[in-house]
């Protein structure tokens, strides 16, 4: 009963019936997702060659979420706050593939000059306010960015991404309540890829419909098909319209998606069957989009696909090249960007 006014399963899911785009638009979405796919494949490849260090969480399989989020928003006034599975979102928000890849390589031409690495992709100029590595730790930050929108009487919206395993962390709940109390323009988007590292949602959560948790804070929850970029885009656009500007309330979206690879490059993913993975791959976000095109009689043909592949292949090649060739950061930069000034006496440069 009360649920009807709080967490409502979107009847629109699992297929989006949003504003039909022309072919150019579909091609554009395809191209964006393909860039992420090929970029991540390349990153995975060079990781195994030892060119990338640290933890590396690939986004393969989840592309429709990232591209749907970006295309559902207005990036001139809206903001992104993200978890560590962040290469795809960084690309989506327009960061140069060269700079994202160079960051993975730890090079000085990387997005954060090699200081952040895989888990911390920031591109402030493009309103990407970063990837964060502590599960749930980014969620309150998004509330703060949302608070700043209202405070400054701007009409920006903040989108906050997190995994389905993050919703068991207190930070999530505290954030939902605060944003609801103060009516902040935050779209909380759970990328439910069914596993937090090796633990399936069934084993970690009493309620496995993440969208339903919105009921505890009287905000709207919605389930979205995270394999369908159009559904994602439209749901995000609706949510943005709903929370934008004064009086708007936060929204919780659950994007059902799947990661094809292990949790990180170090994870062989033995906790799930090959069968499960193959089953999931059948609804690959790229194919789902092609089907949409077909259904709309806007079929993207083989030649077009090949052109796109060629184009994207070059972009990724170039990113790898820029990263291979990029300079290592100079050791002296360890002292910069700790405080506003490297000469701040708060910094103990000799001890």
């Amino acid at each position: 009963m009360a649920e009807a006014t709080t967490a409502t399963r979107s009847d629109a899911a699992p297929r989006a019936e949003g504003v039909a785009g022309g072919k150019q638009e579909l091609l554009d979405l395809y191209r964006r997702m393909l860039l992420v796919r090929r970029f991540e494949e390349a990153a995975g490849r060079v990781y195994t060659e030892g060119k990338i260090g640290g933890f590396c969480h690939l986004y393969i399989g989840q592309e429709a979420v990232g591209i749907g989020v970006y295309t559902g928003l207005d990036p001139r006034r809206d903001y992104l706050v993200n978890a560590y599975r962040d290469h795809g979102h960084a690309l989506a928000w327009g960061s140069s593939p060269d700079a994202v890849m160079a960051e993975l390589f730890g090079k000085a031409n990387g997005l954060a000059h090699g200081k952040g690495g895989s888990m911390h992709m920031f591109d402030a100029a493009r309103h990407n306010f970063g990837g964060y590595g502590i599960v749930g730790g980014q969620i309150p930050l998004a509330v703060g960015v949302g608070f700043a929108q209202r405070y400054q009487k701007k009409d920006g919206v903040v989108v906050c991404l997190f995994g389905e395993a993050a919703v068991n962390n207190g930070a999530f709940w505290e954030s939902l309540n605060m944003s609801a109390v103060w009516k902040l323009p935050v779209i909380f988007i759970c990328e439910n890829n069914r596993y937090g590292m090796g633990t399936s949602i069934e084993r970690s959560s009493a309620v496995t419909d993440v969208w339903r948790r919105a009921c505890a804070h009287d905000i709207r929850g919605e389930l979205v098909d995270g394999m369908d970029v159009l559904a994602m885009r439209d749901a995000v656009a609706r949510a943005a319209a709903e929370c934008r500007g004064e009086g708007g309330k936060p929204v919780l979206l659950e994007a059902r998606t799947y990661r094809y690879r292990g949790h990180s490059m170090a994870d062989p993913a033995t906790y799930r069957t090959r069968d499960e993975v193959e089953q999931q791959k059948k609804r690959d976000p790229l194919n789902v989009l092609l089907e949409h095109a077909r259904a709309r009689k806007l079929e993207i043909d083989q030649a077009e696909l090949e052109t796109l592949e060629g184009e994207i292949g070059k972009v990724v090649e170039q990113a790898l090249k820029a990263s291979e060739e990029g300079p290592n950061p100079d050791p002296s930069v360890i002292w910069t960007d700790v405080y506003a000034s490297p000469d701040d006496p708060a910094l103990h440069r000799d001890i």
Binding site: Y79, V81, G110, L111, A112, H113, G114, K115, G116, H120, F122, D123, A124, A125, F129, G130, Y132, G133, I134, G137, I139, P140, L141, A142, V143, G144, V145, G146, F147, A148, Q149, R150, Y151, Q152, G170, A171, E174, S175, N177, M178, V181, W182, T336, D337, V338, Y339, A340, D344, P345, A346, L347, H348
Partner: protein
């Protein structure tokens, strides 16, 4: 010069900075309608309204993170923790987000934010409410830590903190809120990392801050009666720390005692002792000694609390020890 309480001085600092810069806002538990659990924000809600003086739910982790988010989005938050005991819940946000924002974004985002609130024992608040945590923040590169003792320092350091471009941990003292002193009207900016020499004396250097500054001063007066003259130095900030001031004094007195309210093992004084022995080795005629709170969770009963906290007597004794006068 006007006489203000420590509480009023903090209030004045916030009021002035909020009037000066409309990006500055105050958020925390009971800061608005209640005017602050310790009345530090008295009148601010009325003056600046509910978007600039915000009563938050009891969600330290969440609202500390909110502050960090607001800071990277261009505001200059003051986040009040009712006391620093509760801030342990938010430690992750201060360490993993606030302190690292500038660095992990490669300098793209900055985090100008002040976290402030009371620390230390008050009167029989027992073990969970009587703690000193300066060191766990001062340990973190990216943070700065202030520990003002006087109303003047409270105002001058807080104004500096609010204008700083980096995240600040600003620790006040509950039992000092009512203490009074002269405070300049208007613009008063005390730089971080500049100690105050509270008292001059040639025999021994006592380093003490916040509440302990007064314990040290009392001890110095006792010592004076016995012909021992102590210099008392209040560093005022623990990161940055004015080591030069301390070393300069030790070069004259050749002896040093550090007084701190917190626990002994790994407390702030250990670092100061380390720095002094390292850089003042040849000046020292005796080891640096520390007088600290006892190494126990604070018990509730008054006589036990008294036994745990540093006293002027213990400081006197330590000073005599370094002077080999026992």
């Amino acid at each position: 010069m006007p006489i203000l309480s420590y509480r009023e001085a903090l209030n004045q600092a916030m009021r002035e900075e909020m009037a000066r810069d409309d990006r500055v806002f105050l958020l925390g538990e009971e800061v608005g309608q209640y005017n602050g659990a310790y009345k530090v924000s008295q009148g601010l809600l009325k003056e600046f309204g509910p978007w600039r003086v915000v009563d938050s739910p009891i969600a330290e982790l969440g609202f500390a993170g909110l502050g960090v988010g607001a800071a990277i989005a261009g505001l200059r938050p003051i986040i009040e923790f009712m006391t620093w005991n509760f801030a342990l819940l938010a430690y992750d946000q201060l360490v993993n987000n606030a302190a690292k924002m500038r660095s992990m974004s490669g300098g793209q985002l900055t985090c100008p934010i002040v976290f402030r609130g009371a620390q230390g024992a008050a009167h029989q608040l027992a073990s969970q409410h009587s703690q000193v945590f300066e060191n766990i923040y001062a340990y973190i590169p990216g943070l700065k830590v202030a520990v003002p003792a006087t109303p003047r320092d409270a105002k001058g350091l807080l104004k500096t903190a609010i204008r700083d471009e980096d995240p600040i941990v600003f620790m006040e003292s509950e039992v000092l809120y009512g203490s009074k002193g002269e405070v300049e009207e208007g613009e008063l900016l005390i730089p971080f990392g500049q100690a105050e020499v509270v008292r001059q004396g040639g025999d021994v250097t006592i380093v003490a801050w916040q509440k302990m500054r007064f314990v040290a001063t009392k001890a110095a007066e006792e010592l004076a009666k016995e012909g021992i003259e102590a210099t008392v130095i209040d560093p005022r900030t623990l990161r940055p720390f004015d080591l030069d001031a301390v070393l300069g004094s030790v070069a004259r007195t050749h002896r040093c005692v550090i007084v701190e309210e917190g626990w002994p093992w790994m407390g702030s004084g250990a670092q100061l002792a380390d720095s002094i022995q390292r850089h003042g080795f040849d000046d020292l005629d005796a080891p640096v000694l520390r007088v600290t709170g006892r190494d126990v969770p604070m018990p509730y009963a008054k006589p036990l609390e008294h036994t745990v906290l540093p006293t002027a007597e213990r400081v006197v004794e330590a000073c005599k020890n370094v002077l080999y006068r026992t």
